[in-house]
Symmetry: C2
């Protein structure tokens, strides 16, 4: 179930998103008509193969972007943070989602008609450049993920995932936004093996670990593990 909160408006929103700023600059505020939708934990925000009708801005909360693989096993592509957009691939030729997004925590989203965003993209070169760059970065990340998931082994993959999450939260101390199994989806290994590797890292004094709380004690060591094997 989703909650539609019609009270929230852009001017009251503390997240100054590029879409709003660009729309304002282009005098398209009237047409914006943003809809604020709240998703509960575990709820699907968008589904693979579904049509992209809106650009979705994650205003509050965390979500996971994943593709559903074989035998019900997912591969998590990324963890979404407040400020991230969903659905902008529509601008790059695909009318359908190529991935799923589901809420890891309650997620507040702001949704705008994708047609309007497309128009903005085509008529505002700064906005265009921003989206192009973001898309290019996504592509580069995909590329390195392809190598990592294929050629690295468990310890390296988990180390990489931990560093990725630390970088998202801009801190070496964080609360894991995912379960062990999901950390496995992000690292392309089983949940059981995630537990094992995490225990090893703890044993070796590389991380401190208690339930979901992680402190990376030796970031350089973890970095080395993530690079080599």
């Amino acid at each position: 179930m989703r909650l539609i909160d019609k009270e929230k408006h852009c001017l009251a929103c503390n997240s100054t998103c590029d879409i709003f700023l660009t729309a304002k600059e282009m005098n398209l505020e009237q047409e914006l008509n943003p809809v604020h939708i709240v998703y509960k934990k575990h709820e699907i925000i968008c589904r693979e193969h579904a049509s992209i009708t809106h650009s979705i801005n994650l205003v509050e909360g965390n979500a996971k972007m994943f593709v559903s693989g074989l035998h019900g096993k997912n591969i998590m592509l990324s963890i979404l943070m407040p400020g991230n957009y969903i659905g902008l691939t529509a601008i790059f030729g695909s009318a359908k989602y190529a991935y799923n997004v589901s809420a890891l925590t309650p997620c507040h989203t702001c949704q705008v008609n994708i047609g309007l965003v497309k128009r903005m993209y085509h008529n505002n070169s700064l906005f265009q450049e921003k989206l192009n760059k973001a898309f290019g970065i996504t592509m580069a990340n995909m590329m390195s993920k392809l190598v990592s998931l294929n050629q690295k082994q468990m310890r390296a993959k988990v180390a990489e995932s931990l560093l990725y999450i630390a970088q998202l939260f801009e801190s070496n101390r964080f609360v894991l936004p995912v379960t062990r199994k999901e950390l496995g989806e992000l690292s392309a290994i089983t949940g059981e093996n995630v537990v094992r590797v995490l225990s090893e890292f703890k044993q070796e004094g590389i991380i401190q670990l208690e339930a979901k709380e992680v402190i990376i004690l030796q970031p350089e060591v973890l970095k080395n593990i993530s690079l080599a094997g």
Copy 2:
């Protein structure tokens, strides 16, 4: 060693590429100054991390696009066919190549200053749409490759690679443009195992195989193998 053929000009070129057509439409023919460079088999056409200075159109021949992974093992992203472009990622925010391209056969390329192509992109919406779409498709392919290489096993991966090549050559009968080891790079398995799987497929009457010549006798069976495992 590369051969620069200054004699070839766009008007004489039988490959009517989008860049030339768009430049003509925009009266930018004078500025185009295309350079025709020929690469020998095995030569590097572009290298990871190098600056992108030109848009490279593969006019004739085949090339492989790959990222260099760990322990000297590559992952092949795609096989390039005549008409394919290299370096357009520069438009999407990255000034450096994120991949390598090397010649599988002698490769004739036509190279145009990337700055000009960028200008064309920003001032021609049709051209823009084409490049965006191409980039989007590349992204989608990456995504499905991520799943395939991670979750499928040898037989499925090799089946997929064979179908991919058949689709490139638009025929179920083709001469492999790659070695067994390279087919391994494309499938993320070892060369030895490629040989084994190909032998199995031959034994099972799914393909006909002699040296580099492949005939897919039972495309549907191969398709099923590629999907399941």
